[in-house]
């Protein structure tokens, strides 16, 4: 999240790893479909995928617009399948809604790499690589729970600013709730923003109004967090601390600087798009992962959700988007 060009902020794996995974292989066409980028995280997904593909001389990258809903994505995926690429990387609007099309592609012999939001049907993808939404909520819950316990607050007021109410947001909230429950805490007020900074500001300002005194806030998304922080500043509030989500460059910088209420953020890194392209290339070329013994790429990769704090922030610099 910045005004810089995305090329400067994409995350690619440096060429020249072990076992020559980066050595050029047979030419492959990788199709790519993800929801239209309308906020920072999704923008980074698109940019990362494109940049990682460009890093390989043997990859032709064919991106189709994933549109603004499942229906549009199904239709454009259909046209992509008709063009018969070697492999397709799909980040669906909703795995369940795009499942049928993915299955169709697999049956037509085109492997599918399922990015982030999983298809319910195991036959619908060759590889699933995803973040851990539930785990993200858990990480945030534990960080907040521990901080408050340490401060000795018995009955804390905890606020939550969720993202757009889609299944992944619900998962995050469930993880958050479960982790807090282990400390005997619960969420007092939860508002849903839309992953955009203006909606973040709007919902945060209302949350602050509803809770005259707060101890901690979890905001699901650092991009909407720009607005959330703005609202907090506008309301002149500082009696609480906040945890972010996803891990944007701005958030990491703010954590390092330690001059706002933002004390930590839990990652959900769009670098998974780069990894998905890399792995898709290997699958299409019939190669395995360099560091693993297996001859083929594994079937499922789930990214861990890490917690970035002031202490470890500097090591996450290159992952911030």
């Amino acid at each position: 999240t910045s005004n810089e060009t995305p090329a400067a902020s994409t995350q690619t794996k440096a060429a020249g790893g072990s076992e020559g995974n980066n050595a050029p292989g047979k030419k492959v066409v990788i199709g790519f479909s993800a929801p239209a980028a309308d906020h920072g995280w999704m923008g980074a997904i698109h940019a990362n995928a494109k940049a990682q593909a460009a890093a390989y001389s043997d990859v032709e990258f064919k991106e189709v617009d994933g549109g603004s809903n499942s229906e549009a994505q199904r239709s454009t995926l259909g046209t992509l399948i008709a063009q018969k690429p070697d492999i397709i990387v799909v980040l669906p609007h909703d795995g369940k809604e795009v499942n049928a099309v993915a299955l169709q592609a697999m049956q037509a012999g085109i492997p599918i790499v399922n990015l982030d939001r999983a298809f319910p049907d195991a036959l619908a993808s060759r590889l699933v690589i995803k973040g851990d939404n539930y785990g993200m909520g858990v990480s945030a819950g534990h960080f907040i729970g521990k901080m408050l316990k340490d401060k000795g607050i018995a009955n804390p007021v905890i606020g939550e600013i969720a993202g757009l109410e889609i299944p992944l947001t619900v998962e995050r909230s469930e993880g958050f709730k479960a982790a807090l429950a282990t400390y005997g805490f619960s969420v007092r007020n939860r508002r849903s923003a839309e992953f955009t900074s203006d909606s973040g500001q709007r919902e945060a300002s209302q949350l602050l109004q509803a809770l005259p005194k707060i101890d901690a806030v979890w905001n699901h998304d650092d991009d909407q967090g720009i607005g959330v922080l703005a609202a907090i500043k506008q309301a002149n509030r500082s009696e609480f601390f906040m945890v972010g989500g996803a891990g944007s460059k701005l958030a990491i910088d703010a954590i390092k600087a330690d001059n706002t209420v933002l004390k930590a953020t839990v990652t959900y890194n769009p670098s998974m798009a780069s990894s998905a392209i890399s792995l898709a290339r290997l699958i299409a070329q019939g190669r395995g992962m360099g560091d693993l013994t297996e001859l083929q790429v594994p079937k499922e990769v789930t990214l861990a959700s890490e917690t970035i704090t002031k202490e470890n922030a500097s090591s996450y610099d290159k992952l911030g988007f």
């Binding site: 809903n69 229906e71 549009a72 199904r74 239709s75 008709a82 809604e97 499942n99 619900v170």
Partner: protein, 373 residues
């Protein structure tokens, strides 16, 4: 002044009125006035083929879009097999919105607007894929979707016609409420349909044509007959075009308005089944912004937003035009931002082409009429 005959000053002799001058045979008068008026006057200019002419314009737009497609992707368009498949893909893409648009067209012609269509589709879809409903099998699911659609539509109708709410506000409120209810029923989860019958609707073809396209065809045909051949349809035009006149003519405007929203709800119910079948699942956020798509398609198709005029065929063409634009972008692999910028331009261009065509056709016909007269 003198011979100007200031009439009402009680004159003994009756004023000269033309009617009393030589009593004429009515047939003769008809002929005479025929000459006097329609001879040159072409009193009865225009033939109501208005809609039909407009549709010619829309077909022109469609042809233009296909030409653009063929120019940008000559390789694909060179393959007749691909072209046929692409036509089917476009029709399939148009099918769900198309069904919704038929209902919307009735509502708009009837002087209203229905912003809740997308929400009704979502609610009906979610309701018919709950575990409890799925236990009743495909029949139960279809029944549920249709009943939910009709009932929500009826609530809209009652609020608008008997509660006297502005349609925009009433259906906006319904939009919000129905999406909320759908989210609460589905617990914000995506509900997978396990009925093969339902899922097959979108997956199967009959004689090479997808079942969804047949459904669209059937709904369009039914809509056309309803609008053009039944008292319900003709009264819809009256209710939308001149509600006062409709009321004076003894039409129960309120009841009729209520039925229009129920009809729209029914179409949403049908669309919900189709969409659920396509996605093999349903969720509260589905059919997002269908209201905009349907309204835009109807208006592009020549339906007046103020009511009283519109055609089903025009609406269908509108939907197909939008689907063709989407398809065009997909086969050209445009990025979404480029796509959006171009799309705005295409919509404007489409309407301008259509207007231009419409005008020239009208002018041509008018000229012919005058010269032959």
């Amino acid at each position: 002044m003198s011979d100007a005959t200031p009439t009402p000053t009680a004159t003994p002799e009756r004023p000269q009125l033309p009617a009393q001058s030589p009593p004429v045979d009515p047939a003769e008068t008809a002929v005479a006035s025929d000459k006097a008026t329609s001879g040159r006057l072409s009193w009865w200019r225009g033939d109501g083929g208005d809609g039909a002419k407009r549709n010619l314009g829309l077909i022109g737009v469609l042809v233009a879009l296909i030409v653009v497609g063929a120019i940008t992707k000559p390789d694909l368009y060179g393959d007749p097999n691909w072209v046929w498949n692409n036509v089917l893909a476009i029709l399939q893409l148009a099918s769900v919105v198309g069904v919704v648009t038929v209902g919307m067209t009735f509502v708009i012609i009837g002087g209203g607007i229905d912003l809740s269509v997308g929400a009704i589709v979502a609610l009906a879809g979610v309701w018919c894929t709950t575990v409890a409903t799925q236990n009743f099998g495909a029949g139960g699911m279809i029944f549920t979707a249709l009943v939910v659609g009709i009932c929500v539509g009826l609530v809209n109708g009652v609020l608008i016609s008997y509660g006297r709410l502005v349609p925009f506000i009433a259906t906006l409120a319904m939009l919000v409420a129905a999406r909320g209810l759908a989210a609460s029923i589905s617990n914000k989860q995506t509900q997978v349909s396990s009925s093969t019958f339902i899922n097959d609707i979108a997956a199967r073809k009959v004689i090479g044509i997808p079942i969804l396209v047949y459904i669209l065809g059937a709904v369009v045909l039914a809509g056309w007959v309803l609008l053009n051949r039944t008292t319900f349809g003709r009264r819809t035009i009256a209710v939308g075009g001149n509600p006062e006149a409709a009321r004076l003519a003894g039409i129960n405007v309120r009841r009729h308005t209520m039925f229009l929203y129920a009809l729209s709800g029914l179409c949403c119910g049908i669309a919900a089944i189709m969409l659920t079948s396509q996605a093999t699942s349903a969720q509260a956020a589905m059919a997002n912004l269908y209201e905009l798509d349907a309204i835009a398609a109807a208006i592009i198709g020549g339906t007046l937003l103020s009511g009283g005029r519109g055609t089903i065929v025009g609406s269908l063409l509108g939907v197909i035009i939008f689907a063709t634009i989407t398809n065009l972008f997909a086969i050209n692999g445009l990025s979404i931002e480029a796509q959006n910028m171009v799309k705005g331009g295409i919509i404007v261009a489409a309407v301008l082409i259509q207007q231009f065509q419409y005008k020239s056709v009208t002018r041509l016909l008018a000229r012919n009429r005058v010269t032959t007269a």
